[in-house]
């Protein structure tokens, strides 16, 4: 049995998505896989979701033995020796009859340090290989990777959300800087608009709105625009974007019509102002959902912006897409080789 700790530099770097994709790919290649997330918070639903995606049989309590509510309280009350024992016991149970177990790290590789449960501790405790996920937020991301490897030792790495010309640079940086420092770059994942999308229902929930026209198909909204200009200007602006929602006042019938024509996928009407019934008819005809919200346009946009920043890879469409991306951009064979699998 081999184990791979998927750790990350920061929160929301894409660990769960990568584990789901890798897990499926490994299953396809004939490996028996397991999933383990030793240390997590009470409201974390990843465990349940990934267990489901990978069709695993192990109990959730076994997969995630330590779930905490208040970390401040936990730091004072927990016994590090007990905790380590619990982690090792659960892991041994999970590892039975498996070829490889994917271990998901916590919020960042250092989280859990105070109680001896950081990714740094876990990797040495369970003698796992490390796959570090770094979300690209600027060129200094490279330094953060180097610091991590200074503490944790040799590792593989995936840099997430790298697009455009930077990929060319990073290719060279991988061989000139990362490799000599014990970091094997096994993949750079590009930004993908669809993955960053939300379903109309997710948007409705995030905005606490109601449907004036319900969604007819399962579309992913990839971004949002604010409609506050003249219809002629808006038309170009709306058309330029793909799979977008438009946030605008309920009293701007001209913009609603233009947005529907421009192929907008969802209308979010603010100020609790219902549009003329002709617009509702038009939206129904074109299958464009309309969400009515109470807040003003600016607050709605802020709320939605936050929701977009925390998008998860859920739902069949996204999972399929992400698996394709991982297959295409991640060097799976190297991971298998490093793990020592056949």
């Amino acid at each position: 049995m081999k184990s791979l700790l998927v750790s990350s530099i920061d929160e929301y770097s894409g660990k769960s998505g990568i584990i789901s994709a890798l897990g499926n790919i490994f299953v396809e290649r004939g490996y028996k896989i397991g999933y383990f997330k030793p240390f997590s918070t009470f409201d974390d639903v990843d465990v349940e979701v990934i267990r489901d995606i990978l069709s695993l049989k192990d109990d959730e309590e076994l997969i995630c033995p330590i779930k905490i509510e208040s970390y401040a309280e936990f730091m004072l009350s927990s016994d590090p020796v007990e905790l380590r024992k619990k982690v090792i016991d659960s892991f041994s149970e999970i590892a039975k009859n498996k070829d490889v177990v994917f271990i998901e790290g916590s919020m960042g590789y250092f989280a859990g340090e105070a109680v001896g449960l950081s990714d740094i501790d876990v990797s040495s405790m369970l003698s796992s290989k490390i796959l570090m996920v770094a979300k690209y937020i600027g060129d200094f991301t490279i330094d953060r990777l180097l610091s991590a490897s200074k503490i944790m030792g040799d590792m593989m790495a995936i840099i997430n959300l790298v697009t455009g010309f930077k990929r060319t640079y990073f290719g060279t940086i991988a061989s000139k800087i990362l490799e000599p420092n014990g970091i094997k770059l096994v993949g750079m994942l590009p930004k993908d608009e669809m993955l960053a999308g939300l379903t109309v229902e997710e948007i409705r929930k995030a905005l606490n709105g109601i449907y004036l026209v319900e969604p007819q198909e399962d579309v992913l909204i990839e971004n949002y625009l604010i409609g506050a200009m003249s219809p002629q200007t808006a038309s170009s602006y709306f058309r330029r974007s793909r799979n977008s929602a438009v946030i605008t006042g309920g009293d701007r019938a001209d913009l609603h019509a233009v947005a529907i024509d421009a192929g907008i996928k969802c209308l979010i009407l603010t100020g609790n102002l219902e549009p003329p019934s002709t617009i509702i008819g038009l939206a129904e005809k074109h299958g464009v959902p309309i969400i009515l919200v109470k807040e003003d346009t600016l607050s709605t946009a802020e709320k939605l912006g936050k929701a977009f920043g925390r998008v998860r890879i859920r739902g069949e469409k996204k999972l399929k897409r992400f698996k394709e991306i991982v297959e295409h951009y991640v060097d799976i064979d190297t991971i298998i080789k490093v793990l020592g699998l056949q």
């Binding site: 697009t163 455009g164 010309f165 219809p231 002629q232 058309r239 233009v258 002709t278 008819g281 038009l282």
Partner: protein, 654 residues
């Protein structure tokens, strides 16, 4: 058959005098054909036999439906079963009233398709044929017979216009209130009027043309035979907004509509007054020769007319020597025998009429503007009794029987007649088909660099390459030669404003420029940066813009203008709908006010107009071949004495 049925049934007829079902039946009293009332409660209404349903009535050609919206579709279903081929639905409560109404209307369209019923409305005033007494409307009056057919999207406007025309003692051939245009739209009805011997002019009031292409095809065909004068409202944002919430339809741009009118020979009117002036003139004349003569008994209005003639692009006729001599022979010494002819204020009707008839004989005169003011010596009635065959407009200022009071309005209407005459003479539009590799374009659309598309359709561009690192930038620039232009490739708008464009870059500055451009782009935050485009610097020439924006109603709307301030500040641009013939492309270029700059000022050599025209035509063809292109723009296109080069290109593909 819509206008000439042998028998008409009014479904929803009633003897209750305050109801629409009563008014319509009453208006049918002069109809030369059979009229049946349909209402299960009565045996007879207003002397017409009444049947419980249309199924029980004798043969019906046209059904006028005035029952509540909810029952309209079941009536139509019965019409279908009975084989009624034409219907007018007066009832409201359809698309205009919201979601439930819209559903009813969709259902209505399905029934009409199933039975091939040609339907006017719903939500309309009805239709009129003055020549057989068919008044299937609930209007209070019936206009007198005339040769103008009037189609209107607004029923209320029809009632107003009928009253207004009564004032000039003029009438109509047909009137159609189109309502929601669920089945028959303006194009269908115009087509029906093609062979109508009673209709010489088609007058149109519309708020939107959902199927713009169909309209253009039909209008282009018919307008050569019968002039079509149209007024489209919703030209401003405020107007468009009102139209959108009023009709629940998507407003295309006003420019697109104007371009479509122009290309298909439809005469566009700016205001209701304009619409009537032009239509009334066309009801008398369809053709006019060059050269306008003005004959007046007062200098001032003559000058006003002369000014307007120049302003509206018409030409004052140059009289022949004979005419001048003849005028001299009977006009007093102080009179002006040149155009505008001033017969002087003391003229009587006889002198005035002689002058008019004299200039009308001149071969250089195509039309006449007859202007008088009431003097002690001249009576309007008498002076109007001249006898000429050439088109004229009467501007007898202060007379209630005059065509116009205002000479400027008279000239404006006359100018439409001239434009129409030119259109009729115009040959078939010929389109050039450019051969290019569609697959290559398709490939190029996936590429990060839009210039590949231009190259694929053969629009000249400067030499270029895409660099992903500073090192690459240098080697590309070395190949192109110095100096070079550099700009970021990515989803960044207003690249120049954010420091992502560098011009005139020399070898020593290339790497630094690359890094600066990238750094400036990255500073913007959430943007996609694909690399840096390195381009040959192109010097000289003039900058123009060629663009396309897909209109929801008419399709690709092509745009041309001179670059920089001419577009941004002066909005000096012209539009046409694709496809575009070479003549039209050249017309577009010549139409902008700043065209003089392209022709060359102060000894400059003229720019290559044909090269620009070719670019316009190529982009037009590209936008027809690839409907997924939503908009694109070459800005600037640099034009030289010979040839041109696209310096920047933006494209938005869905």
């Amino acid at each position: 058959m819509l206008f000439d049925p042998e028998s008409v049934a009014v479904v929803g007829a009633t003897p209750k005098k305050d109801k629409v079902g009563y008014a319509i039946l009453k208006n049918l009293q002069n109809f030369k054909g059979n009229v049946y009332a349909i209402n299960p409660k009565y045996k007879e209404i207003l002397g017409y036999p009444c049947y419980p349903s249309i199924l029980e009535a004798p043969k019906v050609d046209l059904a006028i439906i005035v029952v509540p919206a909810k029952v309209v579709n079941s009536v139509l279903e019965q019409c279908g079963q009975k084989g009624v081929k034409y219907a007018v639905v007066i009832s409201a409560g359809f698309k205009e009233s919201g979601r439930d109404g819209a559903k009813l209307e969709e259902e209505m369209v399905k029934i009409c398709k199933k039975y091939n019923i040609k339907l006017v409305g719903p939500n309309c005033l009805g239709i009129i044929n003055t020549h057989n007494g068919l008044n299937a409307t609930f209007a209070k009056t019936m206009p007198k017979p005339g040769n103008i057919a009037f189609l209107s999207q607004s029923g209320a406007f029809i009632i107003a216009v009928m009253e207004y025309f009564k004032g000039f003692d003029e009438g109509f051939s047909k009137i159609v209130s189109m309502g929601n245009k669920a089945v028959l739209d303006e194009a269908d009805i115009i087509e029906m009027l093609k062979n109508d011997p009673f209709t010489d002019v088609i007058m149109l009031y519309i708020e939107g043309i959902p199927d713009g292409r169909k309209f253009m095809d039909v209008a282009e065909k018919i307008s050569k035979l019968k002039p079509i004068v149209a007024m489209k409202s919703g030209k401003t944002d405020a107007g468009a907004r009102a139209a959108s919430s009023h009709t629940g339809s998507i407003a295309g741009s006003y420019q697109a509509c104007l371009a479509a009118f122009r290309q298909s020979g439809v005469i566009s009117a700016n205001s209701p007054e304009d619409l009537f002036d032009i239509a009334r003139l066309f009801s008398k004349y369809k053709n006019v020769e060059d050269g306008v003569a003005i004959v007046t008994n007062s200098g001032g209005p003559g000058v006003m007319a002369a000014d307007a003639i120049e302003e509206y692009g018409l030409k004052l006729a140059n009289f022949s020597r004979e005419t001048i001599e003849k005028l001299k022979s009977f006009l007093p010494a102080g009179a002006n025998v040149y155009n505008p002819v001033d017969v002087l204020g003391d003229a009587d009707a006889e002198r005035y009429i002689r002058a008019i008839e004299c200039v009308a004989e001149d071969n250089n005169v195509g039309s006449i503007i007859a202007i008088t003011v009431p003097t002690a010596t001249l009576s309007f009635e008498e002076a109007s009794k001249f006898n000429i065959e050439k088109p004229y407009v009467l501007c007898f200022m202060g007379w209630d029987k005059s065509d116009f009071f205002d000479p400027v309005r008279a000239v404006k209407a006359l100018s439409s007649l001239y434009r129409y005459s030119e259109f009729v003479k115009r040959g078939e539009r010929k389109y050039r088909e450019f051969a290019y590799d569609r697959e290559k374009v398709r490939e190029a659309m996936k590429s990060i660099n839009p210039f590949d598309i231009l190259r694929a359709i053969g629009i000249p561009t400067p030499r270029y390459g895409v660099a992903k690192t500073a090192e690459e930038a240098l080697s590309i620039a070395d190949k192109i030669g110095y100096p070079v232009a550099m700009k970021v490739l990515g989803d960044i708008v207003h690249k120049t404003d954010v420091g992502c464009v560098k011009l005139n870059v020399n070898r020593s500055e290339v790497k630094k420029a690359f890094l600066e451009i990238i750094a400036n782009a990255e500073r913007l935050g959430n943007v996609r940066i694909e690399g840096v485009l390195i381009q040959e610097m192109v010097e000289g020439g003039k900058e123009v813009i060629v663009g396309m924006k897909r209109d929801p109603n008419f399709g690709p709307l092509m745009m041309f203008g001179l670059g920089g301030i001419y577009v941004e500040v002066f909005k000096d641009v012209t539009f046409r709908i694709a496809p575009i013939s070479e003549d039209e492309a050249i017309e577009m270029i010549k139409e902008v006010k700043s065209y003089k700059l392209l022709k060359g000022v102060r000894g400059e050599k003229p720019s290559d107009i044909k090269a620009i025209a070719e670019v316009i035509m190529k982009l037009a063809q590209l936008s027809l071949d690839f409907p997924e292109i939503v908009e694109m723009e070459i800005n600037p296109l640099r034009v030289f004495e010979k040839g041109c080069s696209a310096l920047d290109f933006k494209i938005n593909v869905k």
